[in-house]
Subunit: 586 residues, 2 copies
């Protein structure tokens, strides 16, 4: 047992090189133990066990600085840097996050969760080192999947003229989240097949030094490679070949399935809590479009499963050329969508809200300035969406709702989404984004709304004196709150779903102002710059009181959505207080 | 005379190939005539005269689709596609914009002004063609400078597995706006020197077909090259070598100076209206920092002149490694800034507001999530900044002010900027962005403000009943407006500069609410999601009336800032009306 004696990075150095495989074995066991109990990123972590051991054996972290791209593969690094209890002791499982985190350890340089940033961040550290006159090694580890992102290329290109120490380890496990896409990957295959010797090496094409090492899961071999690279005086790309999911047969065989997941039985990989059921509303809408409109094209940027596209169905639509995965390259997907729409085709690009952040300029300039009618599906937005500070959807309204020409629609129910989607893909007037709820609820009502009437809101429920305007995703919660408030205060509250987040329904708000003296807005995104402040602005010159509730400006993490909303005033208790205070009633 | 007979693209085809040089000569003359009278993008347009003629001779636009990257080099294309009068007839000079514009011509596919988008947009058109079953050619023309941008790489990478017609013309004139930066350019040099035959071709490294043509200003040779490429059944990169500024000796010799500029005398290049005087406030602040803090580093993404860095001074600081130009790669610059700050260095990254749009994710995730204390200078923001719909700074407050951990400061006067800059670069608490006014005015007052007090606003002038809160850049205008209003209505108006755009000064607003019943907010950016709506939200529950003024949500273009502001209510006349209506006074 070596791992139990590793409390500090210096303990790793005491081990003889030939004994490192045993340490790696123990790290892998700890990893599997926790992964099988908590879930997490399986494949990427199992693949870099040996690399992590070798890095910490050869380099002197934290003096030498290691930057993990995306950092979802940092678990072995955490095990080796003083945090092994969080992998072996169930009581301490929650002591670490799933990403590098400077608050946990001096060995973690950045809080990171988005792809393709490591080379640029490492260049910044290198630049810092150079103005301080330091001599340490700066190391970036980036996966082959992340190499499709533009930021990685910008970093590589600049590294190509950076004449000082920088070690870029390309961890090539032949897999992104799903399969890789792009011409780059044909060349990475050729490089693997020729032991790095094939013609037209992309990295050398950017003026970078390059070496290939095939045995990326051979810890002793890796140590030898890294020892030669240590203290190098210029940027070097070390391309290593690893096995994603290494050590778990089923994970090695189905790398996409085992990118990340829930707790599982180690013997057979069967989920401990059963196979998850996915809502197919978005998938059904897309398949229906593909089947009924032969000029329609669905785009993803590296996350086809987010749209429900897996297996044979995906293969078939990709072969036809109407399901496109551009790799982790959201900017490209947004611009391609604009081009398709410009031609008259029907493009639908769906992505998780935090990753759409990378398309802000392409959304504004490439798409909306040209007013091309593509459809954007914003997945996992708001407090009910993603819940790690590295992956947040709390600012989608801020990012989308001020962009000229864009229409941003927010459905409350499954039926509304289906009808809005149908409207979006059939119209040719504007780019339209739809804020897709993370949990679909049926309204049970037939949907006949005409969503083409610009900025037309929907009155969900009529009352008087008090009106609540709740962004679509919060309508079900608002109804719950209202039921409680009405019961307690014996009043009738109006509830409005704005539908359009890119404007206000002036007629309705004027009418509402006539018999309501208090308007409360609720949104499950950030308060500052959100939808509610537009309502406050509208009523600013009038006597109507407006109180806006939304999430505080902070990189929230690991929260319970309902609790976070309540902390920010979105609860029956608070609304009761507000109404009592405003109307001076008990 | 050939040009006078070219009214339509079909007229070009009637010319014999050997007579095309004469047509090119006439196009160049027309170009120089207009450029010398109006200014504009000189170098890039002169360089692509022959390419433009050859493209329209060989291909069948608009059926074949030509996408110009950045599109600031589209003047010859416009001359050849029915718009020559706008270059030869001074009365019609203003009939065309400086960028491609679908509203002008069916030969223009997109309204475009940002760099590195053409390959992705062309891929979208190609995809549209393919679902429609079309057979035409899709062509993207991209300069070597634009090749440093991540979006271009994402497009190239996807093109590398796109098995259908796409022609990417890399127009290599050995120059970006300033000189090129990145390892790529070493290889482009090698490709030029070896007639495209050197090892480790970047494009082949992305699985793309490639050919080199040295004589990019030989129209007959270009026609031969393009004829061979026409109707090709897979993506092809044609790398051509052109001379930026071709035909004007001084422009060929000083390519950076002649990237774009004002009207000039054709004989000697001397500006007709004299050499412009640049305000050196930003430059002085940066040089002072570099000279007094040896851990400071200034970054630009391809536009060093925007920071005042030219000639020998730039060369010297670049050589020392403390002035960094990463090329047109804003994402990389933002992430590097975060890395430098993480190390303890003092990074200042300055860029034009519209180009910072490309860093939204890096600003939020790479920098602010990590709360690294870099300084970002936002240049040319607001209505007084850039004024083309392709280059707008009307949404910087929307983009910056909701990002957690970021502080966004807005100075009104030169003295305020200098003191804020000093505060920003010395503090280690937060990333700070400064909204740099496009025109600096002296307050004439000694600056002793402590800008470290979070969200502390500044009372510029005390009055009662009516308060105006004006974003920094509008403070001088607000004072003018107030002088007129006070004279007319015989009242005293309070004026507040919020200073911090990332929060409101709750104490001051509460105090202001005690003896002011009307608060008017003024901002020179978009109203929706802007600063004023935060003030409306703050006062929403109270009796204070708030009226927000800002720019309407639209891609405004070619506007006069004062007129645009007045149209949106920011004028003495309107404020007088508002006060009269609110207080029912005459």
């Amino acid at each position: 047992m070596y791992l139990e004696n590793i409390n500090d990075i210096s303990d790793i150095k005491k081990i003889k090189k030939e004994e490192l495989p045993q340490l790696a074995k123990e790290v892998r066991e700890a990893l599997i133990y926790k992964l099988s109990n908590t879930g997490g990123h399986v494949g990427s972590n199992l693949g870099v066990v040996e690399l992590s051991v070798a890095l910490h054996y050869v380099f002197e972290s934290p003096k030498d600085k290691i930057v993990w791209d995306v950092s979802h593969q940092c678990y072995p690094h955490k095990i080796l840097t003083g945090r092994k209890d969080a992998y072996s002791n169930p009581d301490k499982f929650k002591n670490v996050t799933g990403f590098t985190n400077p608050k946990e350890s001096e060995h973690d340089l950045f809080t990171i969760g988005h792809s393709s940033t490591s080379i640029s961040l490492a260049l910044g550290l290198a630049k810092g080192r150079d103005v301080f006159g330091g001599k340490e090694n700066i190391i970036a580890i980036i996966g082959d999947g992340a190499m499709s992102g533009g930021e990685a290329y910008e970093g590589l290109n600049y590294a190509g003229e950076y004449g000082k120490n920088l070690i870029i380890i390309l961890n090539d496990n032949e897999q992104s989240v799903a399969e890789n896409h792009g011409g780059l990957y044909k060349k990475l295959t050729a490089l693997r097949q020729t032991n790095g010797l094939c013609e037209d090496n992309l990295f050398k094409g950017l003026n970078l030094d390059y070496l290939y090492y095939e045995h990326g899961n051979d810890v002793i071999g890796l140590v030898d490679v890294l020892e030669k690279a240590k203290d190098i005086d210029h940027p070097l790309v070390i391309h290593i070949h690893t096995v994603k999911g290494k050590g778990l047969k089923y994970a090695e065989e189905d790398r996409e399935e085992w990118h990340s997941g829930a707790p599982f039985n180690i013997e057979d990989g069967v989920p401990k809590n059963g196979y998850p059921k996915y809502d197919t509303t978005v998938y059904d809408s897309l398949i229906n479009l593909l089947e009924t409109d032969d000029k329609s094209i669905v785009l993803t940027a590296g996350t086809p499963r987010a749209l429900g596209f897996v297996g044979q169905v995906r293969d078939e639509w990709e072969k036809i050329g109407r399901f496109i995965d551009v790799g982790i390259a959201e900017e490209n997907a947004m611009a391609i969508s604009s081009g398709i729409a410009r031609y008259g085709g029907n493009a639908v690009f769906g992505a998780y809200a935090p990753f759409l952040q990378r398309t802000y300029d392409q959304l504004s300039h490439d798409l909306c300035l040209n007013n091309n009618p593509a459809t954007i599906l914003v997945l996992m937005p708001g407090a009910y969406g993603m819940k790690s500070n590295t992956h947040l959807g709390l600012c989608d309204i801020q990012m989308f709702s001020h962009v000229p020409n864009l229409i941003y629609l927010s459905p409350a129910y499954r039926e509304e989404y289906i009808r809005m989607f149908d409207y979006a893909v059939k119209q040719k007037e504007h780019p339209i984004a739809i804020r897709v709820p993370n949990r679909f609820i049926n309204s049970g009502m037939e949907e006949v709304t005409d969503y083409s009437i610009l900025n037309k809101s929907k009155v969900v429920k009529e009352g008087k004196d008090v009106a609540i305007i709740a962004v679509g995703t919060l309508i079900p919660k608002a109804l719950e709150i209202i039921a409680e408030v009405e019961k307690k205060l014996n009043i009738a509250i109006t509830l409005i779903n704005p539908i359009y987040l890119t404007g206000v329904d002036e007629d309705l708000l004027n009418k509402t102002g006539e018999n309501h003296s208090l308007v409360v807005t609720l949104e499950d995104g950030e308060l500052d710059g959100g939808y509610g402040q537009r309502v406050a602005s509208f009523y600013g010159p009038s006597e109507v009181r407006v109180i806006n509730y939304g999430i505080s400006k902070h990189f929230h993490s690991d929260f319970n959505a309902d609790e976070l909303l309540a902390e920010n005033g979105i609860s029956a208790d608070n609304i009761i207080d507000v109404i009592r205070n405003t109307f001076l009633i008990d």
